[in-house]
Symmetry: C2
Subunit: 198 residues, 2 copies
DNA sequence: TCTTTTTTGTATCATTCACTACAAAAATCC
DNA sequence: GGATTTTTGTAGTGAATGATACAAAAAAGA
């Protein structure tokens, strides 16, 4: 009944690597979404049986929450440095959308795991989890813009979320990286044009 | 075993209105998505039992296809006149995105039924149906732009689909109409800035 | 009235889902 | 070595899903 790893305990040792299994689960959740990925799919991919799965991760939605945390940590955009005080706001916005285009069109799971998860997850618990994370991302972006002294933090945060959602969807629909990059640049210009001089 | 209506046949008459039931189903599919809406939900909403449901509509995915057709017919954007030869391309693009903002933020089912369905539908058959309809929409927009003599039809179609997808997602996340309208305007300006003089 | 046709309501079916009971296995602690 | 602890594999749980079998009911045609 240990969901957090305690290496070198007493009983029978695990036959699988929990971190590896988590990474595999994260990739699968990103690829197929929460509802389309069954616990049977997960246990088969990890190579374990249901009891081992539940002993290690608690339940499906808890594993999904862990997978989301891992995704944000490993594949999250670097909004922090993009919107650092040194760089002009225009450049920061363009950088975020370029990062998004690059991230969303790379790997075999296209699009943003959080954005796509927020739109597609039916399960109430999992849906609440992923949507709250998406809202947190919006707040983070808004606060970073506001911290620079901009009076358009809400508007620009709305716009960035809208554009990232659009880029994520287009990536998921198979649009290749080069074409997605152009869209990101165009979208950034739309925002830049509406930035008021401070 | 009649999925198309034959008024005044021989046998026992229907106790419900097929068109009303279809409209109800369309609204529910738009609101909850294909997978989250069960046949039991549908029969309860219509007020019939499963055998009547299957006799009238065939099966769940066939009803979904009908609902999509109805949605496109009733709530589809007027791309045709927005991109008519008389209006400047810049205005046409702005018009499409303004129409999208208005449509996506109105009613109680937010966002575009086709765009959101394409992203969230897990069922293979229903997913293929809605995604093929989304692709058809893209082709229609691209062809309408190309018919004007623009050499940027592919690019602008990509961009419009991306922007509509973003607007649909933001609407689904609860962004109110006034704020969505501003985003649509900004997004349109991003495209307009990249239109090459003919 | 009698036959034919179609819809209706009841009562399921088989499948898939997330999740678990249970006992054997494999490690550490004393 | 014996007790304790934890994981393992087998097997199965109850709930929900899309879809149906079947016979009674209600209409039209003869």
């Amino acid at each position: 009944m240990n969901d957090t790893k305690k290496i070198g305990g007493r009983g029978r040792p695990r036959t699988f690597d929990r971190d590896e299994a988590l990474a595999k689960a994260q990739a699968l959740f990103h690829l197929k979404g929460y509802d389309a990925l069954s616990v049977a799919d997960l246990t088969a991919a990890i190579g374990i049986n249901p009891p081992s799965f539940y002993a290690a991760f608690g339940n499906k939605v808890a594993l999904y929450a862990e997978a989301l945390r891992l995704y944000e940590h490993e594949a999250g955009l670097d909004v922090e440095s993009a919107l650092a005080e040194g760089v002009p706001l225009e450049e920061g916005i363009a950088s975020i959308l370029q990062q998004a285009a690059d991230a969303y069109a790379s790997g075999d799971a296209k699009g943003c795991m959080v954005i796509e998860g927020a739109r597609s997850t039916v399960d109430p618990e999992a849906g609440a989890e992923v949507r709250s994370r998406l809202e947190a991302s919006r707040r983070f972006i808004r606060d970073r813009i506001a911290a620079r002294g901009s009076l358009q933090a809400e508007l620009l945060a709305d716009y960035l979320m809208m554009a990232m959602s659009g880029l994520s969807g287009s990536a998921r629909n198979g649009l290749p990286l080069d074409r997605l990059r152009v869209l990101a640049e165009m979208a950034a210009d739309g925002a830049i044009q509406h930035i008021e001089r401070k």
